[in-house]
Symmetry: C2
Subunit: 84 residues, 2 copies
């Protein structure tokens, strides 16, 4: 596997797992006031479209990364609604 | 331009502009306690790597989207440090 592809995979993994500590923080603090609802909605729609794009182009890494990100953003959205 | 490409561009635009309302919120509230620093760091590194990936593969849309996202996340990082 060449360097460029590895960089792509690492980049993809980082932007996906980035939302894990945010979910943990919102869960622990039971506070989401400083999180922007608009950000969560736009991000959720964006990664959902990326997932469709991945399906259409048959790109498994794009599907996997964006589906996981979508689920994490969806959980954050739920926490945002619950702990205003 | 075919539908798949349009979906890719819309997805890219959404995940980039998503951070604008978050920057506005942090700026207005002068509060970033609920934002995860780990998320900002991982996200910043991730989109920076995506930018390099874009340069290497010569993909202008990847460069543009991720460079803008990087700047927005960088501003959020600064606000997080300033308004703990």
């Amino acid at each position: 596997m060449d360097t460029i592809l590895i960089v792509g995979y690492v980049a993809s993994a980082l932007t996906t797992i980035a939302f894990v500590p945010q979910v943990i923080r919102a869960w622990k603090l039971r506070e989401t006031r400083d999180l922007s609802l608009a950000m969560l909605v736009l991000l959720g729609l964006g990664v959902l479209l990326w997932t469709f794009y991945g399906f259409w182009t048959g790109s498994m890494p794009i599907i996997a990364a964006n589906l996981i990100t979508f689920l994490l953003v969806f959980v954050l959205f739920g926490l945002k609604i619950r702990y205003k």
